[in-house]
Symmetry: D3
Subunit: 242 residues, 6 copies
């Protein structure tokens, strides 16, 4: 049920998003004039990560000791955001690119896994990185830090538009991650972008084959109109094969 709400991606779209590179998605959106979609400077905590999900957002502001009772009590927005996670969601945290304190650790990450979350993205630091590396959830971060968020942060909002690593993330955006990093695909254009990215990767595969055959990139990538029939024949042949 919760699933229905969030893992509501069209199956073909989902298949595309699980197959294409984040670079391809960023490139396709650039061509449509959407220039700021790739999160800047975030790294996966372990090799081989791959992630597709809907954004659930969490916003931190700087700690102000007079407000701790208001914003960082036991039942605070960090906990609320995590408890609200639904199957297929990615928790995306705005920590103002500030890396001198953690923003999430292993137990909260485990709770996210239990609730069906499929990824965690923070533009700050994570705690318990060694433990997180052993857990079954992709995590993207700017750094690792042993302090808890209370050293610098207060959780203040969830499910509002946030800035994460220089990119605006709106609840419900589709978040895709691979070894290169993380890209945001706006919900309203996800089907088109995913389809176009799949087609783009086909073109790049052909372009790569031409270059591996010793051709210049000129004509082969991007494909010029003169070469397009060749590409189309190659596609047709592949489809015949399968």
């Amino acid at each position: 049920m919760g699933d229905d709400q969030v893992t509501d991606l069209d199956p073909e779209t989902r298949a595309h998003l699980e197959a294409v590179a984040t670079a391809t998605l960023a490139g396709v959106m650039q061509k449509r004039g959407v220039r700021t979609t790739f999160l800047s400077g975030l790294a996966p905590i372990k090799p081989g990560q791959r992630m597709v999900g809907r954004a659930r957002t969490l916003r931190f502001v700087p700690i102000r000791e007079d407000l701790i009772e208001t914003y960082a009590p036991r039942l605070n927005m960090q906990r609320a955001a995590i408890e609200a996670l639904q199957s297929g969601e990615v928790l995306v945290i705005d920590a103002r690119n500030e890396t001198d304190a953690g923003t999430i650790g292993d137990i909260f990450a485990m709770r996210a896994i239990e609730l069906g979350a499929v990824g965690i993205v923070t533009d700050g630091a994570v705690r318990d990185t060694p433990a997180l590396r052993t857990m079954g959830i992709p995590v993207y971060h700017r750094a690792s830090h042993g302090a808890t968020y209370r050293r610098l942060h207060m959780p203040v909002d969830q499910q509002v538009p946030i800035a994460c690593a220089g990119v605006t993330v709106v609840p419900g955006d589709v978040i895709v991650g691979d070894e290169e990093g993380v890209v945001v695909v706006p919900a309203a254009m996800v089907d088109e972008v995913a389809a176009e990215a799949a087609q783009q990767e086909l073109e790049e595969e052909w372009g790569m084959s031409r270059v591996e055959a010793g051709e210049s990139t000129d004509g082969a990538f991007p494909i010029t109109p003169a070469r397009r029939p060749e590409f189309e024949a190659w596609v047709a042949e592949r489809q015949g094969d399968s």
Copy 2:
């Protein structure tokens, strides 16, 4: 009536805040354990600025071209925040410390003045700095930049807690500025902090007089218990004078 809501500072508190240094206020709050109140790296756009008012907050996020229709149409949150300004308020803008585009210019600043605003604070850049310098409103900024906010920003929220120059600002916080910079005084403790700051400045004045008389700072600043009677006699004498 709008006035009643916002220019509701106790007259004695207001008098103190108009007289004391931002450094004194920051120091008094530090002693109470509230460590992060002074906005980092912001400068007044002209000499002699002094400002006391209530915070009205505006939050920008990074531009994302697919969301411009949603967040940056003609009647957007920047305009809404400015139109909502009430007498005695300071507009405080969260621009993620990003200085490569303006966040406000001269016409919107004039509208703020017309509505009774008493200051503008941004952790990004302002546009039209030369014109702003001729206008009757204190402005604090990190830099000047000629581009409009649409180069980098979208206004997304007003009257929510924001981060401005590394400090959390909540709507209704008291914002005080002088030539040193800008400090946030939490609404809930403003009367106490203002009174304590006034007393602190009295102590510093006495301490300064002792140092100018050739004494060491030790004992004179901060005042040790042994020297306190002297200080109190000095205060009494001054009050007798006046």
Copy 3:
């Protein structure tokens, strides 16, 4: 003759550029889709600076001691660029935003003045700032530093496209400066941009007058179609006056 080449701006264009704000020029170019024209983080070395001229570019690279004989001998590219300055030109220096050494000092600046140069812009530091402040040429810089360029830099090229303070500058671009900072206007569009900026300032003047009269900015700035007749009447009246 040299003059003819460089101070070849259309007189009306020049008049516009000397009157409008750099912010207006940046805004007009943004509307045309040219987003990166305002030099980031550069400040005038004294109040009241105003500058219009053609770009002559100079490019520094990091010092490499084995190449000093090649790139930084007595008759080097810095000297060459300055000796090549023609009347109406602005020397624009790419110093990779590196501020820990000067890029030009007072004697070379005087030579630039003698040759008719109308401005100096560097994204690094200048030396001899106190002396430069007394001289009759606008200077924009990121910082001041007492070391000569040889501490960090070698002059390597002149009159090539450069990056200056985050903006590409091509020889012959029109460089405009005021107290806000410096903007680059591409040579190919300077007449149109200047005219449009003059018109834009007229609209802003009307908008400002409306706001000063107590109106909301909505409708007055930017001018909505419904209000345009009013604006045009105001323009007509002003022209009648003069």
Copy 4:
């Protein structure tokens, strides 16, 4: 033939460069007064990389939309630089240390491989990092980013002196990389530097053996005149062995 031009390193020099550490090369050049040769902050994209080649340079400047037709058409300088690569060359890219867009991706890298290039070095970001890791060419970068270069950059020049990661690189410089990073060896001193580095590593090997035998570093590293006969005996013995 192209090979003759670029893979023209003296075989003994090449053998030395393939064997010594980049740290040794940087240290040897420091002793000769050439202080800025090691590229700052660049990392290999995979473990075990090792690279020796001649520099072919490519220079990017910031995107300026009015110049895209001029500098970033289909047959632009990026493509030209890559097509011009000759056997034994390393492509070295000046991206102003700006990491918020890629500067090269997998298909162009494959073309570089096909043309005999032996490495790619950028002080910006690369795209398609996961694919690049599977390809047979060493790549050094500051970060990964999914956007194409058109988000921030225009290719403007090739085979000119550039700044890459804080170091000046001139076409034809010898570029050496290992797991520590990348160092530039000026063409004019490569034979001497390579020979001296090989000798230095011999001295360090002896010094290490002395330290492993329980001696202090004093005398053993660097070798003092008093200890040099011992070192020479050790060298003689080794040569006798082989």
Copy 5:
């Protein structure tokens, strides 16, 4: 004997420190009001590092060529600090977070190993990173760089309080490292902090088990008074098991 001086940790304390995460230690000290203990932005040079030892400090200042004879002769403070290392110590280097030159290389690291040192921490760069990775000593650094320290640094002091990666380190402090990074435990509170961290990890283990069993984190982590009896029963049972 040297050992007696420095590897003087209480055996139970040592056992705790060898078992707990640096994040747990940082968190425990935060609760005690000691907020700045985790070194910011330092990474292990290889996976699986784990380190416990006493701090021996070394302080670098910027190179000043007139002082090289004074501060960086053959028998300088770097060498002195390393020769003074005793069994169980960690060498902690203050390099002002400056990464454009090495601060230690493989031969000095080997000497440290021979003297019984158990770790090396620098907030600058290390040289010879590939060799260091093969050696039996944990190393934490901000970056790798091929230049020797003389490019930027002079060793000036040892065994004084230093700033390393934003944290004050006093000689004799206990330095603990794992894959997350490095934390400083003040000597005066090490027994208490270690014991509390061990207890904290027990609580976190129980909390994790509750979350893995499908519970919310609320109540389970941190443990609320209502749940504490359950936790204590779980502890008792475990102890019965063993």
Copy 6:
């Protein structure tokens, strides 16, 4: 007496230092191979500042709450350094370029004045900037901040070599400031450097006169051997005049 110790500059040297530009001093030292003498990024707090004195150094490290009793009690190193100031000294503060807290305020600055100090230099922030601007002592800083040093710093040492704004300062170094910034002249070379700087300024004055007369800089600055007789004649004539 105290004076004798510190205001012990040779009168001619002092006269030179009071007359020449900091840029000239930095340039003269560069020629002698001393490259890092100009403090990076510090600004005077008011126009017209000029300063010559001997360095007294003060070193801060990051706050660590467990050490406050040790390092920041009432009679701490900040107070000790200030009380130790002697006539003719400049207080030079190492605050690790950290600007989010003050390092000195108005009362301590007044005490410094009373003790004969002739300047204050910090690479962090000052508090009470508006008051400091009214006082008779030159102050150089990176920024202003209202918080006291206890927000971030502990004073830990005085009269040790420090790093200030990227430059090593040793107690007793001669510190010279003007509107450009601050330069350190090593005590051991101050007489020579001052004399050479005075001569250099004479040469620059002649060079400037040549350029103002319409000559190229080539030959006039720096003076080539061929032009030296002319320069010398000009000097002789001037001396005849006076």
